[in-house]
């Protein structure tokens, strides 16, 4: 069964360092989402791609966060510099584009980031 892949699974870094997360969606899924989930809270959408284009990045802290999906397949989320408040689970999800009916998200296992 196809799955969304994410790496690394865990990352520990010091504040002011740069970190990067990678996501490979299910093959053929045009839409890709990055979420941040702070412990004890629900996922918060950071950025949404449709193919290689950004559809929604209104909640992305653009002074330190960047995301790209250059070929419309896999994606990278970067934080530079990392801050203590960035400690969270970063989730990637993908979904196919369906004209009618409904859509469904498939989630990866997440990357747990700890900033010291």
């Amino acid at each position: 069964e196809a799955e969304v892949a994410q790496s690394p699974r865990y990352k520990i870094t010091e504040k002011s360092q740069a970190v990067a997360f990678w996501c490979d969606p299910i093959s053929g899924h045009a839409t890709l989402y990055w979420y941040r989930q702070i412990l004890g809270q629900g996922p918060e959408l950071l950025v949404q791609f449709q193919d290689e284009s950004v559809v929604d990045d209104s909640q992305l802290p653009k002074d330190r966060f960047s995301a790209e999906r250059l070929k419309g397949v896999d994606s990278t989320l970067k934080i530079q510099p990392a801050e203590l408040g960035d400690s969270a689970m970063y989730l990637c999800a993908s979904s196919p584009v369906r004209v009618s009916s409904y859509n469904e998200q498939f989630f990866g296992p997440g990357t747990r980031l700890t900033v010291l």
Binding site: Q48, L91, Y102, N103, E104, Q105, F107
Partner: protein, 111 residues
């Protein structure tokens, strides 16, 4: 506008007793609705989904949910809780390519 309200942030049940996790939604369109489960340090796993077919939806691990349009609710139930059900549960509304998450309900199962 779309929104999701999970009415209980924490639910505690004894093993073998029924589970009820409540979710109300607000949507301008006919929504699709989902329940996801998340175990500690894991990603989100789909439990079940409503897509405008049958209003009573059966999912994995014995869970089911009933879509009630008149009450704008999509409550999750299970007849008998198991220890392995202890986790965080999220109700999600989908319209088009937008997904709206509830704040989650933490389920504790007491042996």
């Amino acid at each position: 506008a779309q929104s999701v309200t999970q009415l209980d942030s924490h639910v505690s049940v004894s093993e073998g007793t029924p589970v009820l996790l409540r979710c109300n939604y607000s949507s301008s369109y006919s929504p699709s609705l989902f329940w996801y489960v998340q175990h500690p340090n894991k990603g989100l796993q789909l439990l079940l989904k409503y897509t405008s077919a049958a209003t009573l939806v059966k999912g994995i691990n014995g869970f089911e949910a009933e879509f009630k349009k008149s009450e704008t609710s999509f409550h999750l139930t299970k007849p008998s809780a198991h220890m392995s059900d202890a986790a965080e549960y999220f109700c999600v509304v989908n319209t088009g390519n937008q997904f709206y998450f509830g704040t989650g309900t933490s389920l504790t199962v007491i042996p």
